[in-house]
Symmetry: C2
Subunit: 675 residues, 2 copies
């Protein structure tokens, strides 16, 4: 009888699972599953597919349930696990008949519940499919063949790629890209061997070449020294490194259920989006003293990555990429390699995005999750002031990292979300991959009498100057939704009291931002600590409960503010902005970034100067790098790292890791290894 019941139950579960992909307990913020992506495709194609018009899928993602729905589900779920999750829906952007349509698909009813024609400026993310087709067009285009002949280049060794072209004040802009080509003979490093001066303009809606230029013949840089595959390199190899591995003999300290992670005192959810890649949601930390989880981050993501190159010439002036909005920081995520991209103790998660035709594409090992132990110290103290006693207490630092790598053409971005038991969240970015390279006639700097807008890296090889701006969206909900943004300004005080031997000291003057204008900050101008606080909650001691931003590499844009790329990238004009939470304000550079005109950016939304005090607010933070390439960055670039920290500041009553014990002291392990 018992057996029978079990079987029936299993059967019911199977039925249930086949419809909702239940390899795990479904979470309302889980990214779309492959079958959901397929369902979206089927539902939409049923309504739109005709013989005459192609329909392409540019954005297929979760239509995120409203915040109150998530929160009530979450609190109900935590307590009784009874409430059904909010209705699951997809938000979709398709191109159909040269128009962008925004479609919302509901999964429970398997129907389109809303369709909107987008009438604004700009176009959605480029699909891989159309980029590939566009890149093939030159091969059947006579003038291109002529260009190759002129250069004595065999067409079979040529590869092309499509590049977004931005907007430079044109009143009307078609959905065009420029296709530039490379000579791949003898090296995998195509970017190092551009056919400089040759570019085709392709209209993606028409899918044909609508413009072509062959300005000048520049020598294609040689293949020698451009290869980066170990299998193609010749000795001597080096420097040699001995094997090193992380081992956890009691197993990993984290658990993953579906996309929900629990580790040490943290819980959070890992989402995925085709446009921005990793989304960390509902990060809460367990407060040992109060014996409860407390909210920190409702949602965090890299909202846009702006990469303007700094060469004003015909072939390069338009190279001002928006890696999220134009190329999709999610669909460009690379499959992570075990043991090199992530350490041996990593666990991997896949991701799925929709292809042009709406079918799901799997990115295997899109995320890795691992406990990081870099040999660092969480806290310590040695006390020698007590006679006949030396006290030393040290706790070693272990953290949890969620990593992804987005490879947008030549560049690889390593994106880390690191959670520390102390309550800090560290957000790291590593830049590696291949530089944007222009071919030139020079082989030595002696020959150069003009501005070449870059560094001569090798013969005929110029690494163009550029910037990387990473704009993070951080919907902090510090111990609840209603928060304020506080600048703790450090101000010098001149001592007037003649009895005091000091002439000066500094003190803090707190300034709560009332409106968005108050909260725009260029870091580095004034010494300030920047905090998000919960104004209605205080510690026992009466301090405002908060988290502060400890900035990393700070970068300010150098383009003129009225220059077109900077109008589009105006969200980088400040390192910090604060906006009231608004579900539609998620993409700092807009949702339709290709050919955008900057009218749907953070900089524009923020002009309304809304109230932000004691409200659900979003902190936007831009960090980044000006990049003057150096020869070391060629042919592939050693990682350049940066990052920032969100650090609890009077969030806890005292050090939250005071009572953490260091992991057991493990003596040099005696291991047998499998190679």
């Amino acid at each position: 009888m018992k057996m029978k019941l079990k079987l029936i139950f299993s059967f019911l579960l199977m039925l249930l699972c086949s419809s909702i992909e239940c390899s795990h307990i479904p979470h309302p913020l889980d990214p779309l599953t492959p079958s959901e992506i397929n369902l979206v495709r089927n539902i939409i194609l049923k309504s739109y597919q005709t013989k005459h018009y192609n329909l392409t899928f540019h954005y297929v993602g979760l239509q995120e349930p409203d915040k109150p729905l998530i929160q009530s589900w979450l609190s109900s779920n935590t307590k009784t696990k009874t409430l059904l999750p909010p209705p699951r829906q997809a938000f979709v952007i398709v191109r159909f008949q040269k128009q962008s349509l925004e479609i919302i698909v509901d999964f429970s009813t398997r129907s389109i519940i809303s369709t909107k024609l987008y009438k604004g400026q700009g176009y959605p993310i480029l699909t891989f499919g159309e980029q590939t087709i566009a890149s093939q067009l030159p091969f059947t285009y006579e003038p291109f063949k002529h260009s190759l002949n002129k250069r004595n280049i065999n067409i079979s060794n040529v590869l092309c790629a499509a590049f977004t072209v931005g907007w430079f004040g044109e009143e009307k802009s078609k959905r065009t890209v420029k296709v530039k080509c490379y000579y791949k003979n003898g090296s995998a490093n195509l970017y190092a061997r551009p056919l400089e001066g040759v570019a085709a303009v392709v209209d993606l809606d028409e899918m044909k070449i609508v413009g072509y230029s062959d300005r000048h013949v520049i020598p294609v840089p040689k293949a020698e020294g451009t290869e980066y595959r170990a299998s193609k390199m010749k000795p001597p190899f080096g420097p040699m490194l001995k094997g090193i591995a992380v081992s956890q003999h009691d197993g990993p300290g984290f658990t993953i259920q579906g996309h929900s992670v629990s580790w040490a005192n943290w819980v959070f959810h890992i989402g995925f989006d085709i446009q921005v890649g990793p989304i960390i949601s509902l990060a809460s930390i367990y407060d040992l003293e109060n014996q409860k989880y407390r909210e920190v981050l409702y949602k965090g993501l890299i909202s846009e990555v702006f990469v303007p190159y700094q060469d004003p010439s015909e072939e390069w002036y338009y190279t001002t990429y928006f890696d999220c909005g134009e190329y999709g920081f999610g669909q460009t995520m690379s499959s992570l390699q075990p043991f090199t991209d992530c350490p041996a103790n990593a666990v991997f998660l896949d991701a799925y995005y929709s292809a042009s035709d709406g079918t799901p594409v799997k990115i295997s090992n899109a995320f890795c999750i691992f406990e990081k132990y870099a040999g660092d110290i969480m806290w310590r103290h040695t006390e020698i002031a007590i006679p006949n006693e030396v006290i030393t207490e040290v706790r070693s630092d272990v953290s949890l990292v969620v990593r992804s790598v987005s490879t947008v053409g030549n560049y690889d971005y390593v994106i880390d979300w690191e959670f520390k038991p102390s309550g800090s969240i560290k957000l790291g970015v590593g830049l590696t991959g291949i530089l944007g390279i222009k071919a030139g006639t020079y082989t030595n700097t002696d020959q150069i009498k003009e501005d070449i807008h870059g560094t001569l890296l090798a013969d005929n090889t110029i690494g163009i100057y550029h910037d990387h701006f990473f704009t993070y969206y951080l919907d902090l909900d510090i111990d609840g939704e209603a928060n304020s943004f506080v600048k703790t300004n450090l101000e010098t005080v001149r001592v007037k009291d003649q009895t005091i031997p000091r002439k000066s000291y500094w003190t803090v003057v707190k300034e709560t931002a009332r409106t968005e204008a108050d909260a725009r900050v260029n870091i580095g101008i004034k010494p300030s600590e920047l905090l998000v606080v919960n104004p209605s909650k205080k510690t026992k001691q009466g301090n405002q409960i908060g988290y502060r931003l400890l900035p990393g590499p700070i970068v300010h844009p150098l383009l003129l503010t009225d220059d077109y790329p900077q109008i589009r990238g105006a969200f980088t004009n400040y390192n910090v902005w604060v906006t009231p939470y608004n579900k539609t304000e998620k993409w700092a550079g807009g949702l339709y970034v290709d050919h955008s005109r900057g009218d749907d950016t953070l900089a524009v939304w923020s002009l309304r100067d809304r109230k932000i005090e004691n409200k659900d607010i979003v902190l936007w933070h831009t960090m980044g790098f000006h990049h003057v390439p150096s020869q070391e960055d060629f042919p592939v670039m050693p990682t350049l790292s940066g990052g920032f920290e969100l650090r609890p500041t009077n969030f806890f009553e005292s050090n939250p890791v005071l009572k953490t014990k260091s992991p057991k002291a493990v003596h040099w392990p005696n291991c047998t290894f499998q190679h």
Copy 2:
């Protein structure tokens, strides 16, 4: 016969070794050995000891051989290993008859070769011995006993410590400290329980109390919540962390001979100094392409750590510590704990300094050296543009860390020197330990109507605002001695050519500093890359060979420049200074920092505005933190980290780790662990 020869050889070796401490090949930059320290003591005491006057040893360190001597020894040593090392000598500062004497002792002749009476302002490092004696004086001082009675405090639970008092414009200053006391009943955290308002002034030369004040009775903060020893804590413990260890099944990749380290493509020497702690010298990197070692850093050290507190009240205004020059960043180094201060794969080195009486004191495990693998990526690229092929090449990042911890009273500073195969040197500082705490009457911020110059951390407990400035001395010798300092300024260019759709771009304008004045930089004011280059060497492509400074947390002083502490700490007025190499200019705040008047600091030397172009130059870099304490920093502070990077920039012809193979992919090891 063979056996006999062996024995004779061993005997000869023994004879040799007993005279020169030859556990290793001696290196002219090795720190003084215990027997050398003893020898210094014996030689000096023989000359100076009398019945009537005490002589105390304040600085005993290596009298560093002149740079040309080191270099010719080094090049000879590399080639033929024949040249004898330069004469080995000690530089010593003693206090004798209330005067500071500078004595040079020669080891080969076992004699004093020079003695100089120091006539300038300021006094040498405080010895632990005199600090301990001074701290005992209150216990037999009647007014102090009275103060304790008034507070109902049992003297047996009181501990005192000596604090430097700086200089505040007095025309004459004696060698005084202030002794402040703590109630240690029920907690090891004495700093959390100050007897606020009570201070004795002790003249260290007279070794007696010469002043005393008991200004007001403030409640001593309670012991509860101040303890940091796990053994004294009550459950619940947490957050719990699972064991994690680094294992290297082929053994460590580095070798240490004496104090010389060789790892991957790096070689360098680890020195030790009582005043500044770790000294990294002769760091050179192997250039695979040119098959030779190339110089990078002749010598690097933390020259001074300036920690001004920001409370102008009677008890705190003078609290403006210089942790190197006053307390000795070397003699305050803590013994590192295996498995927590450093990972399981670390190797340790001891250090020795001289006590007040000249005898050697051992710091066991003063340094640890370990290979760090944090799961990071050295470089990577995924290529999907080549049809029917996905290329992914990833190299995992391993580096070598030299760590020490200086615990200056309450604060613990974790000092990391990290060498990367890519040529980068990362200099890390971690701040942990215990805050400077003032007792107050407040228990809640509601009660506070004045500036308390700090954060209320717990009942009656105020964490005082303060700064930490770390000033690094970096004698870079980039591929040779004659170097220049170059600012690569990034400047916006307005486009005038109407045919170009862009309105602006940025480019680089290089500016070589001619004199010291040109090289003073406040980072963050202008976008610049800061480089030290070798102007007479270029890459094949013609770029200047160099290293650049990638700054970390930037801090500018907030005290008025004419305020006494800032005059003494004027070397923090700029984040970057460059000086011509001068053997005597090593200590940014001077050699006699206690009661100093700022007349022997970097800021003063640099006023000469010497030429620095194409010369042997020293780069001084100040990084640091303004610290507004938060409740999380109590009772012991989670590490706050910062650091900066010295990165090769056109030093190599191309990526120097292109041909590095990742350490063998080690699968999850099957280990048996010893606890």
